[in-house]
Symmetry: C2
Subunit: 396 residues, 2 copies
Amino acid sequence: MDYIISERVKTLKPSAIREIFKYAADPTVVSLSAGNPAPEAFPVKEIAEISNKLLTEDPIAALQYSVTEGYAPLRKAVAERMKKKYHVGTEDDDLIITSGAQQVMDLITKSTVNEGDTVICEAPSFIGSLNSFRSYNARLCGVPLESDGMNLEALENALRNEKNVRFMYIITNFQNPSGVTTSLEKRKKIYELAKKYSVMIIEDDPYGELRISGENVPPIKSFDTDGLVCYAGSFSKVLSPGMRLGYVIAPKPIVQKMVVCKQGEDVHTNVWAQMVAHRFMTEYDFEAHLENLRSIYRKKVNFCLELLDKYLVPNKITYQPIEGGLFIWCKLPQGVDMNDFCKQAVLRKVCVVPGNAFLTNEAEQCSSFRINFSTPTDEQLEKGIKILGELAKEIL
Amino acid sequence: MDYIISERVKTLKPSAIREIFKYAADPTVVSLSAGNPAPEAFPVKEIAEISNKLLTEDPIAALQYSVTEGYAPLRKAVAERMKKKYHVGTEDDDLIITSGAQQVMDLITKSTVNEGDTVICEAPSFIGSLNSFRSYNARLCGVPLESDGMNLEALENALRNEKNVRFMYIITNFQNPSGVTTSLEKRKKIYELAKKYSVMIIEDDPYGELRISGENVPPIKSFDTDGLVCYAGSFSKVLSPGMRLGYVIAPKPIVQKMVVCKQGEDVHTNVWAQMVAHRFMTEYDFEAHLENLRSIYRKKVNFCLELLDKYLVPNKITYQPIEGGLFIWCKLPQGVDMNDFCKQAVLRKVCVVPGNAFLTNEAEQCSSFRINFSTPTDEQLEKGIKILGELAKEIL
């Protein structure tokens, strides 16, 4: 049988990261390539306690079919918190629960992007989202990322010249993979450009709660008086990624279409997990838990930066400073073959993610790679970065 | 802001059933419109036991990111059982876990159907799947369903005359909404037609384990020596729908593309739920549990059929006999306005699903409606069907 594959996914490849993730399952390999939250950041005891109680008190609700929009008390709790804490969400917005924030990208693209339409992304950007856009045959247009957000001139050029631009995709805090946080000034200017060109913004914010230094920067969605911004949030980094819980706060006409699409995709998100998240948010001290996460990651980041300063910087590898998130973007000197460097690292049993995986055009030149410090233990981190340093010393 | 909605979903409406489901949340309404498994069919005690153990023994695996294909031990357990018990799955097939069987429909359509391509469906068929196909701008072609499966002449006509037919969608056992089981003879002929016209079959089998009388009919997939059939299974009716667990057994080239699409949709399915399902299948007596389900549903069906014979049949409403599943397809006499009948029923606080919701063209004439007997209590069932009978007596 000659299988016919649709045009939209014919050239779509598995995410390099998900593939590396499998390779990194080899226990002798030090994986700096994942994006997994630190195991010690999971509130295991609380989750077990809640789940046990739930399956005693209200098992049928947790196990039966539910509504596509999500478990109403969880929707309410998240909406109230986001409104109160970040001024996110207006009367013209609605909030639904999704199967991870990844599904937000899928549903918005499905709802608003025709095949061949354009999506503007930061370059580099999160490959999972890029692949989601690609899977609907969107044309990706990458705008170079600077240390405080997208280059605005390049952005306006893209908005002016690209055809049928449907939205700009921005990870505002501790961007994956670059670690960059878009400054308040740029957030405001990007919003003005969105308004000027009538183009929506998807603000993806999975890492916002993981700030370990500096001041919170208001989300673009917090000054969205024109209904231009779809804000995507996630429980993956603050509760558990295995539970697959995300949400979107967006203008009602968009959310309505997303709900119809979600019905056809997975009917609704695992409701047991939704009820656990709701009880964790409302019956426990959620803010104290987040504070605890930040102190776990603060230690991890500082330890990692020390290692980078000790092993990589003296060997000509630089990195982008960060104030939170899970990733550090390391840069090789000009002229060095980055892909070859990453391959050599794998041969020495250290996995990092080659930077071009995050570009809208993977064939483009890129001299950076991404490392993650949240998943490995301190010992693994030191071992891995030391090996990278030795490799750099030899070949750079 | 004028929101732009993509062509593919512009005319897509929420599923009538999901909408009625919300309405039916009114506790004074007797809902015969859902498709929920009977609450007493959930192995609550066992699920709680497994989950507690799991969160004690292996919490990080249950809460951390996992692989897109699904939890390997669960994939293995399902594949082995389906092979051994139903001869489903060959060396050229692969099995992945999905977020409910609904996601199978989405992922196959996304992977194989270009906009404007044709999907052949039974008429009537499950609206959730139809909407999934519609959401990729597939052209739906309905083939009339007879009491033993599709009309083969109409099917071959469609295969001969429709352009770019990508697959036929068939719910082989106790079809939703009609209750029809496709006979072995027709299964074989449908397979031969698929081969003759090089068109894939999606065999959707969420209810197969809920047979309460008669003999099991081999799945089409069990005689698929040519790699033509994608078989979709579900845990929703045998474990819990709220956990959102399904699977697909299909030729490797198709599964590979589905995996890439799933990465972009939800990364992977809730792994906690997958681990619970695995332990339930392997550490408990799964077959005895299924036998228990069948005895629960046998009682429900028989009770429901008695009520139909008592209240509806004498008032000119007939029904399609069933040997399992969750639904009964009732038929009004020719010339009666079925939609008006359903509206009148709602005014008397009984919800059923108007049959045209299940047609590829909802505007088509339809004189049937669907009732569900698994969700309501015996008292609700009797009350609801009695009211339908009184209504029929008055207006037919």
